[in-house]
């Protein structure tokens, strides 16, 4: 792994992630619009929003931790992208496996939590408390899925996992080998995206968009960028674990968009869950399905 290639990948992979993420956000808003029989935003709307936010003249900050928090949020996901292999570019996926990726994905939420904490707004603190509780809720099924995958493929190195799946063709895919875990993974994916059914921590009417209450200008822009990365990372992770990663870019993107479309449609069809309802749901059904899947996988 020569340094130049790595440096190039370090820049290229997040860029790809950002662009694909923009289109994912666009798809999210388009699906929402179509479900509500609306026209929906124009093609480049997410990009306009981000450029406008970064172009704002006055940037209101509450202290240096507020700035560092946003930097950590965006930077954390940039680092997470390099751990996610995409067709053609492997980044440092073999240096840190699946467990490292799960932990690196927690850094942005910690950074955001610290930044929002400094905003000294109780709406933000309540939002962060709910966000961390939501993380507690959806991480349990997610961890069962991670364990099942690591046990089935025998390794946590994503590059190998994708190689094994691609070797076996469609039959070798994770989803076919571990259907129940794939379903549990979908639940976890739904929680990870933080969209409608589990969006209690952004509840606009109740706690004024929770953590984003004091974010203006480039801070909000940073969070929009993070949202793109979040959608992309969740989608690609699910694809590389269960749908055999991308043989080439076309199939890869197709799979990612299909996978992410499912939770998005569910998002706009279900009302918002309360925190304890979310935990009860996440700890009951997906965990049962996951454990059942594990039982099949391990014996």
């Amino acid at each position: 792994m020569s340094i130049q290639i790595l440096l190039m990948e370090l820049v290229l992979m997040p860029l790809v992630a950002f662009v694909v993420g923009l289109f994912l956000v666009l798809m999210l808003r388009r699906i929402g619009a179509k479900l509500q029989r609306r026209v929906g935003p124009p093609m480049m709307q997410p990009l306009y929003d981000i450029v406008k936010l970064y172009g704002k003249k006055t940037q209101i900050s509450h202290g240096w931790m507020h700035d560092i928090g946003i930097i950590m949020a965006v930077g954390g996901y940039v680092a997470a992208e390099t751990l996610l292999p995409v067709p053609g570019m492997d980044g440092i996926a073999d240096k840190g496996g699946l467990v490292t990726l799960v932990y690196v994905m927690m850094i942005p939420s910690l950074g955001l939590a610290l930044g929002v904490g400094q905003c000294a707004n109780p709406n933000g603190s309540i939002g962060i408390a709910r966000a961390l509780t939501a993380m507690l809720a959806y991480d349990v099924p997610f961890v069962i899925v991670v364990f099942g995958v690591a046990w089935y493929f025998g390794t946590t190195n994503l590059v190998d996992i994708i190689a094994i799946q691609q070797a076996g063709g469609v039959a070798g895919w994770g989803a076919t080998a571990m259907p129940l875990l794939a379903i549990a993974g979908l639940f976890a994916l739904q929680g990870m995206l933080g969209k409608q059914p589990f969006e209690i921590y952004i509840a606009p009417a109740e706690i004024a968009t929770g953590p984003m209450v004091e974010m203006s200008g480039k801070y909000l822009g940073g969070l929009f960028v993070m949202q793109c990365f979040q959608l992309y990372t969740a989608g690609v992770l699910y694809v590389s674990l269960f749908l055999g990663g991308g043989e080439n870019w076309l199939f890869f993107l197709l799979k990612v968009f299909v996978v992410v479309a499912i939770p998005m449609t569910v998002a706009f069809l279900f009302p918002r869950y309360k925190t304890e309802q979310m935990i009860r749901l996440m700890w009951k059904w997906p965990v049962m399905i996951g454990l059942l899947g594990l039982a099949f996988v391990m014996h």
Binding site: Q36, R37, G40, P41, Y48, K52, G63, M215
Partner: protein
């Protein structure tokens, strides 16, 4: 609608002077374009006009086509929609909200009550002209204008943002003293908002001749603007906090 401009809305109509080198101009053009195509709307339902906004957002008129999204807090919003009559009590909150928004910010006065008092023209409780207290970029007349009118207004504002004419927010900084005078005239001399507008103006070097004046001196006399808490990097030292200096 072309002759709206002649109305002597006391705005120093100075088009944003475009920067010299072509790259910067293209960049400015792009930013202005994006600013016009993505407006986050904070509708402050002060009066009856707000009922017209949901239909503008839902499937029939769909504001999202124009890139307009409703936002909850002033920090995230660009446009402040003042819909309907503004009582003096509400005007205080409107000014606080306006000062909490990040500029460039635009104010749209919907309904004729914001233009000249509307049907409450002789009421003692309502503010008659909104643009005396806030720089208003666009008025949409009508005693509750229909969603088409609201969208037409929005499109008008988008054109003016793209062309760079809609810079009412600079005017608030440049002629803050005049605005403050009107506000003090209405709310009394001890009127203060937590946002330090003068400091902000000097920070972003938007301060004009009218920023400081006798009204702002009145403001400084009555209350000290809230200084942000600077991080304190001095280790040790004997000063104890009041809480535990009991020994």
């Amino acid at each position: 609608m072309k002759n709206m401009k002649e109305i002597d809305i006391p705005i120093e109509a100075s088009v944003e002077q475009s920067r010299t080198n072509p790259l910067a101009r293209v960049f400015d053009e792009l930013v202005r374009f994006c600013r016009s195509r993505s407006m986050f709307m904070l509708h402050y339902c002060t009066g009856c006009g707000a009922i017209e906004l949901p239909p503008a957002m839902t499937s029939r008129f769909d504001m999202e086509r124009l890139g307009i999204q409703p936002m909850v807090t002033p920090r995230q919003a660009d446009i402040l929609l003042i819909t309907g009559y503004v009582s003096i009590k509400t005007l205080k909150r409107v000014i606080l909200t306006y000062e909490q928004m990040g500029s460039p910010k635009y104010v749209i006065g919907i309904c004729s009550c914001t233009v000249n008092g509307g049907m409450y023209w002789q009421s003692y409780a309502t503010a008659k002209q909104l643009d005396q207290y806030l720089p208003v970029d666009l008025y949409i007349a009508g005693c509750m204008p229909r969603p088409e009118a609201v969208l037409e207004g929005m499109r008008k504002l988008m054109d003016r943002i793209r062309s760079g004419e809609a810079d009412g927010w600079k005017d608030y900084y440049r002629r803050y003293d005049w605005y403050l005078g009107n506000q003090q005239h209405l709310f009394g001399d001890d009127w203060q908002t937590p946002a330090d507008v003068i400091g902000e103006a000097s920070h972003y070097d938007l301060a004009g001749s009218g920023t400081e004046g006798e009204h702002t001196h009145l403001l400084q006399q009555c209350q000290k603007p809230l200084e942000p808490q600077q991080t304190f990097f001095q280790i040790g030292g004997s000063l104890e906090v009041k809480g535990e200096s009991h020994e």
